[in-house]
Amino acid sequence: MEQIISFFTDTDSSQLLVLFVKAFAVLFSVLYLVYAVIITRQSQEMNKTFSSPMGPFIFFMSFVQIVFAIILIYVSIVLL
C-alpha cells in the first residue's frame, strides 16, 4: 500500500500522464484486435451467405485489420 501511495506522490504529473496515455493506448489496441477478429470471422460468414468474385478480396481486407491491430499493440507498447 505504501508503495502505491509513494508511487503517486513521488512521480510528477507528466510521468502520470505518460502512464495514463500508454495504458489507454494498450487497452484500445487490444479492444481493436478483438473487434478485428470478430469482423474477419463475420466477413467469412457473410461470404458464405452470399458468395461473389469479391469474396477473397473482402476476406483479405478484413484480415488486414488484424495486422493493423497487432501493429497498434506494438506501437502502443514500444513507441510510448
Binding site: 481493436y32 470478430i38 460468414e45 461473389s52 468474385p53 473482402i58 478484413s62 493493423f68
Partner: protein
C-alpha cells in the same frame, strides 16, 4: 429494360443482371437473375462522416495535439486515427455490399445485414407473389431513379422489401416476366 439474357451491371454494381454469385440456400436448378443493392447515393452519410473525421483528425494532429504532446504521441495518435477510420469505412462497406435483394428464376430473396452480428434472410417463391408496388420519392430518388420495391405475398407469408434500390421499374418488370413464365410453364 435491362437485357436479362446476358451478364451486366451498372457503374456501382448496385444493379447486376446474371451475376456470377451464389447464396447459402441456393437450390441446384436455381439461377440468379438479378442482384440489387441500395443506391450508392444512400451511402453518402457515412462517406461524409468519414471525410469529416479525416478533417478533424488532421486538424487535431497538426494544430491541437502538438501544443501539449510530444511527437511520438502524435505518431501513435495518427496510427490509431488511420486504423479506426479504415475500420469505420470497411464496416459500412461490408453492410452495404452484403445487404442485397436477389431475384432468381424460382424465388425472391431479401438478405439484410442490420449490423455485422445480425442477419435477416427472407425468401418467397415467385408463385407466392401477389402484388408488387414501387415508390420513388424525393428529389434524389426521382433524379437518380432509385426507390423502394415492395413484394407482397399471398396469405401470411412475409412480405419482401427492397429499399432505395436503383431502377425500381425494371425490377418490377423482371418479376412480372418471371411470374408470367411460371404461369405459362408451371
Amino acid at each position: 429494360m435491362k437485357d436479362l439474357a446476358k451478364a451486366g451491371h451498372n457503374l456501382t454494381y448496385s444493379f447486376q443482371t446474371r451475376p456470377h454469385v451464389s447464396f447459402e440456400t441456393q437450390l441446384e436448378d436455381e439461377e440468379v437473375i438479378l442482384v440489387v443493392r441500395k443506391h450508392p447515393l444512400t451511402q453518402l452519410q457515412w462517406v461524409v462522416n468519414t471525410l469529416l473525421l479525416v478533417v478533424v483528425g488532421i486538424f487535431l494532429g497538426m494544430a491541437i495535439l502538438p501544443l501539449f504532446l510530444a511527437s511520438q504521441y502524435i505518431t501513435v495518435f495518427y496510427f490509431f486515427f488511420v486504423f479506426f477510420t479504415f475500420s469505420y469505412v470497411w464496416l459500412n462497406f461490408l453492410l452495404w455490399y452484403f445487404t442485397v435483394g436477389i431475384i432468381t428464376n424460382k424465388r425472391i430473396i431479401d438478405l439484410d445485414f442490420i449490423n455485422v452480428l445480425y442477419k435477416e434472410f427472407t425468401a418467397t417463391t415467385i408463385e407466392q407473389v401477389s402484388d408488387i408496388t414501387t415508390s420513388v420519392g424525393g428529389f434524389f430518388g426521382s433524379f437518380f431513379n432509385f426507390g423502394d420495391v415492395m413484394v407482397k405475398t399471398q396469405g401470411f407469408q412475409q412480405n419482401i422489401e427492397f429499399l432505395d434500390v436503383p431502377q425500381p421499374a425494371d425490377i418490377v418488370e423482371i418479376i412480372n416476366l418471371l411470374m408470367r413464365d411460371i404461369q405459362d410453364n408451371p
